[in-house]
């Protein structure tokens, strides 16, 4: 950078401000265009769900449906029992998210604050598991559950693992957060006679609430996407989740795209709602982890 010093022209503050303004307008235009491009697929699916089949196959295709046939959703529900699938999905997700968040918090706290033998070793194992793809252990775990423990067509294999630490990344995230809390607070509480659990509950957890929400959201999204486990562990129609129901619906309907898009858009909704609710914690949380270490 030193060679540039010779060419130092010292732009006036005003021209710099103008430059920045132009830059920002350009940024905004690019963002609007790219944003439209990213939303286009979702819009296209949605608009397809509101059309008659004739309209759907019209050429050139229309960006807006002639009439917004929300009735399509009602008739899709006759074949695609969304609420049942939703209930089943939540039966898996709610306990898993709770279990994962709580156990990740416990582990993250221990790694951040407590001294014990084997800490370094355990932490290394934990971080190492982040690099181990879940696909690798899929088959032995399947054998363990179905042949070893004779657990078949049950949600247990989907829920149980989340009570075991909630994933290395989440433990790491909590640990980073706990480390930002001043130790003086703990020490003051210790002098007041509080034990470690007392400190965890009354000092640590209130100050890392937003991190715990981030962990819960990350777990939610992960489970929401975790189709493969559902495919291999769940067999009966009665226990189908939204994703499984959707796959089976697509398989049985083939090319009735209006109805398929209705079902697709329906299954978008819960994730979007949860994201919008938790959004503000989200970025804050990831920013605060300071991914540097």
């Amino acid at each position: 950078m030193r060679e540039n010093a010779a060419g130092f022209r010292g732009p006036s503050i005003r021209s710099r401000k103008r430059q920045e303004k132009i830059g920002n307008s350009a940024t905004l235009i690019i963002l609007i265009l790219l944003g439209a491009l990213v939303l286009l697929p979702i819009w296209w699916m949605f608009r397809s769900s509101l059309m008659t089949n004739a309209e759907l196959y019209a050429y050139p295709p229309k960006f807006l449906p002639g009439r917004w046939l929300f009735g399509n959703y009602v008739s899709t529900m006759d074949y695609f029992p969304f609420w049942k699938y939703f209930k089943n999905t939540m039966t898996i997700i709610v306990p898993s998210v709770l279990g994962g968040t709580v156990t990740a918090t416990l582990a993250g706290y221990a790694f951040a604050r407590l001294k014990f033998r084997g800490k370094k070793f355990l932490f290394t194992l934990c971080v190492g598991s982040m690099l181990l793809p879940t696909m690798v252990t899929l088959v032995p775990l399947y054998i363990l559950w179905t042949r070893g423990l004779h657990v078949v067509d049950s949600y247990l294999p989907l829920i149980f693992p989340h009570f075991c630490g909630g994933g290395a990344f989440n433990i790491f995230l909590i640990r980073q957060f706990v480390r930002t809390i001043p130790r003086e607070l703990d020490e003051a509480a210790t002098i007041d006679g509080a034990g470690h659990f007392r400190i965890l509950v009354s000092i640590i957890i209130p100050s890392i609430k937003s991190a715990m929400i981030v962990v819960a959201l990350l777990l939610f999204i992960m489970l929401w996407n975790d189709l493969l486990q559902q495919i291999i562990y769940i067999n009966s129609l009665d226990k189908f989740t939204i994703a499984l129901g959707l796959a089976q619906f697509k398989g049985s309907l083939g090319t009735d795209w209006t109805k398929i898009m209705c079902a697709t858009c329906m299954s978008f909704v819960p994730g979007v709602i949860f994201y919008l609710i938790g959004q503000k914690y989200f970025v804050e949380g990831i920013v605060m982890t300071g991914m540097k270490n």
Binding site: P133, S267, V272, I286
Partner: protein, 307 residues
Amino acid sequence: MRIFPGGKTLKEAIRKAESRTAYLCLIPSIIGLVFITYLPLLSVFILGFFKFGKGAPTPVFVGLENYIRLFTSDPYFLDSIRVTVYFSVLAVIGSLIYSLFLAMLLNRKIPARGFFRAVFYLPYVLPAMAVYIGWSWLYESNFGLFNFILSSFGLDKVRFIADSHLVVPSLAVISVWLSGNLIVIFLAGLQNVPRVYHDAAEIDGANGWQRFRHVTIPCMTPIIFYNLLMALITNMQIVIPAIALTNGGPGNASCFLTYLMYRYAFISNQLGYACSISFVFFIIIAVFTAILFATSKSWIFYEGDAN
């Protein structure tokens, strides 16, 4: 000095209580690490030497037979490695460039930042199954959106996921579209780049590109490395679109390694053989990871004060 039960000093007693709390807190994670991560990994290695499943209700030791079959007579295996690597390279490079670029834009002082961030993150929160089914409609050969766009530019219709040359790039595009989580992590990193470096460079007369090249990129290398690693591991494991949409086809053009494993394990019930594939998959990922880590020292820039 007070002596506690067992003849210990206060300090020792406190330390003991502390480690007891720690182990209590870590019990769930230790169970997870042992039974859900590392023991299964060991069993993948062991079961790879067994015939288990179809024709062998209990595991039968067959030595290296599975591996010999894999590398010499399996009609899909070598192709599936090629397809997986091809897909991963496209998807990883695409999503890193896409998300770094967007993060840079979103890091500027612009109105409605939160809104734009939400827009680009949105695809990531949609359920995978719905995403792939939705995209299969966009990619539809006759009435799909993309073919309409192509034909309005006067180009010939293409069959995207039904075309053996295009199926992998088409799926990689979906992966890039889904990579909103990388944007958030990059954005976090950009906000940690010390302002003073930019100011100093600007005083030295560096233009925007020079600042990007010599300030932003070096400061971001640890995060680029992290995202690269995570994107690689995620994309190497691609399997849902093969199950949901393509069944590995057309031909074997989207028969990813993980899909091959899925098919052997859960459709044709050859569990031992599937484990040998899992193990090879593990080795491939381990090699890629090791290469990344080995080369990282030469291109990752750690700030002096980072601990």
